[in-house]
């Protein structure tokens, strides 16, 4: 029961988008011996989850979603050193990137932040990421899902190149691939060998959650 007040403080700090408060709450929680994983999953993550829901219903915008994610990262800096290796392995991992030649970030960042809010551990490679780098990171992190984003119609074929490289590296069957962007379609996804396409961040995140549930 004593842990509850620390967890509430962490959640409130996220909801208030308060950098100072999250650091203070995280330090106090760790100082009081709160389980660091609980501080994340039962403290900050529920706050992120509420922010994510408000974003999905249109009450909050991308600004709030991004800043909440940044506030959580600030809290994680305090908590991370206390999390043991085994604990971090229990969270489902996803690697996400905007493909080479494309500098567009908004859609990818929305998906990444919503996934964090849903309890995923997200490795965000950023924008303009070459296929070789994506393969290296998939090899290293062994994620359950790989998310590829492209806004430009000229860069969409790069998503196919990444999937071909996954195949060549013998990784394709080990990871689900979801593609996103305003111009992707089920037909395009099928053509390049992706498992799912989405033009909508919320729908895409739901699909990832379903996959993880199916996978146990």
């Amino acid at each position: 029961m004593a842990e509850e007040k620390y967890l509430v403080a962490l959640k409130e700090a996220i909801l208030n988008l308060d950098y100072g408060a999250v650091v203070k709450a995280a330090k106090e929680a760790m100082g009081a011996g709160v389980d660091p994983l609980r501080a994340v999953t039962d403290g900050m993550a529920p706050g992120m989850s509420i922010i994510g829901e408000k974003f999905e219903t249109g009450e909050y915008y991308l600004a709030e979603l991004v800043v909440a994610g940044d506030v959580m990262r600030e809290g994680m800096k305090v908590i991370n050193p206390y999390i043991k290796e085994e604990g971090s392995k229990t969270r489902k991992k996803m690697v996400i990137a905007t493909v080479e030649g494309d500098m567009h970030d908004i859609g990818k960042s929305i998906v990444a932040t919503l996934l964090i809010a849903r309890g995923f551990e997200v490795v965000d490679l950023g924008v303009d990421v070459p296929a070789a780098r994506i393969i290296d990171v998939v090899n290293e992190h062994k994620p359950a899902i790989l998310g590829l984003s492209a806004l430009l119609t000229v860069t969409m074929p790069k998503m196919g190149e990444v999937i071909a490289a996954l195949r060549a590296a013998g990784l394709r069957k080990k990871v689900k691939v979801i593609i996103g962007g305003p111009s992707v379609s089920a037909k395009f996804a099928e053509g390049i060998g992706a498992d799912h396409s989405s033009t909508n961040a919320v729908e895409g995140v739901e699909k990832c959650k379903d996959w993880v549930k199916e996978g146990g």
Partner: protein, 375 residues
């Protein structure tokens, strides 16, 4: 009517004999298909600067460097307050086609932004405070002479301050702008105010230019710019700019090719005359018919969606006919064939074969006739 007259009459909400359609110079191919389409009624729009810009006490140098394993061009600005730099990735071919683009229509990418750390704000503010805009109408006069009645020349001015900060100087990758706005609010707003003040003389220069339309390459996107940000930082700038332009009888066009649904009511209240490059679904989220009904005092230049072009000429035909049916009687509209990527000859010809026959006022019967003529 000539192509120029049509575009301008529609842009001023006047009577037009046919639906104006055009290609943007910086996206347009050159050759037999483009010539044929122009002979069949397609106009050209050309945005050119009306000023030259000088930064006093600021040295600028460029060098090629390797940054995070990549060759980039680093531009460094040195001022008495310190220096800042940005890194640009230039794909092969950049600068060898229209308007700094490559033959694939790709612009240089900024890999590192001008503002990276909190201390950079002071340096950039110094640059802004020491920027002078000087009228230079030659590029517009020259383009007007070259184009004649084939199209319109617009005066190009920079993005409004917060758009410039969001998209170029701070950048939006990984939420950078929002994070800076949350962490360093005073610095962001201090720079915004300096930029806004610095642009005031430029609005007067643009208003006195020989172009009838003043164009801001804003790239407005409702996901990035939420209504709160729009109201606080964008609307006042549009109002300031439009006040000056309207005094001189000029039109304010703002490039808005993103999803605008969330901003539609605020845009309706803005003094913007032309919503340039509004993309209908599936790329945008606001159907043109809805935009026309909400923005009753505005003219829409429709940006044709690249996603439809990727599906080929038959899909273009269906989409264009559906679009026409949704906008009857076709007032306050100009169709831009250009998109974020190049347009193939086949797609350009297909769209032209529809649009060249669109007499106004548009009716269902006229659209049926066009459809029959294509089958």
């Amino acid at each position: 009517m000539t192509r120029r007259e049509r575009i301008m009459a529609a842009s001023r909400k006047g009577r037009v004999d046919r639906l104006p359609f055009l290609h943007c110079w910086r996206h347009s191919q050159i050759g037999w298909a483009e010539r044929e389409c122009r002979n069949r009624g397609m106009g050209i729009s050309w945005a050119r600067p009306c000023y030259i810009m000088k930064m006093h006490n600021v040295d600028s140098t460029e060098e090629q460097v390797v940054s995070t394993g990549e060759v980039v061009v680093r531009r460094t600005y040195s001022t008495p307050m310190g220096s800042v730099y940005l890194d640009e990735k230039r794909e092969p071919g950049v600068g060898q086609w229209h308007a700094q683009r490559s033959w694939k229509d790709v612009m240089p990418w900024q890999k590192k932004r001008l503002i990276q750390e909190p201390e950079d704000y002071e340096v950039v503010k110094y640059m802004v405070d020491n920027t002078e805009y000087i009228p230079d109408y030659f590029p517009i006069e020259q383009a007007k002479e070259w184009l004649g009645e084939d199209g319109v020349v617009m005066s190009w001015i920079p993005k409004t301050p917060m758009a410039l900060l969001m998209i170029e100087w701070i950048g939006s990758e990984e939420g950078r702008f929002y994070i800076h706005h949350a962490r360093y609010r005073d610095k962001v707003e201090g720079l915004y105010e300096a930029m806004s003040k610095s642009l005031e003389p430029l609005y007067e220069i643009a208003a006195r230019s020989p172009a009838d339309i003043i164009w801001i390459p804003e790239n407005l996107e409702g996901y990035l710019v939420n209504p709160r940000l729009f109201e606080k930082y964008f609307m006042p700038e549009y109002e300031k700019c439009a006040r000056v332009l309207h005094k001189h009888g000029k039109l304010l066009a703002v490039h808005m090719d993103g999803r605008l649904g969330v901003l539609k009511d605020l845009i309706a209240k803005s003094p913007i005359d032309i919503i340039e490059a509004l993309h209908p679904p599936p790329v945008g989220d606001l159907p043109i018919s809805e935009a026309l009904s909400i923005w009753k005092d505005k003219v829409i230049w429709v940006g044709y969606p690249g996603a439809v072009y990727t599906l080929g000429p038959e899909a273009v035909k269906k989409h264009a006919l559906d679009l026409l049916r949704s906008v009857v009687p076709g007032d306050r509209l100009v169709i831009e064939m250009s998109t974020e990527n190049l347009v193939s000859n086949e797609n350009l010809l297909m769209l032209t074969s529809i649009l060249e026959n669109v007499e106004l006022p548009l009716t269902e019967e006229k659209i049926d006739r066009i459809e029959r003529s294509l089958s």
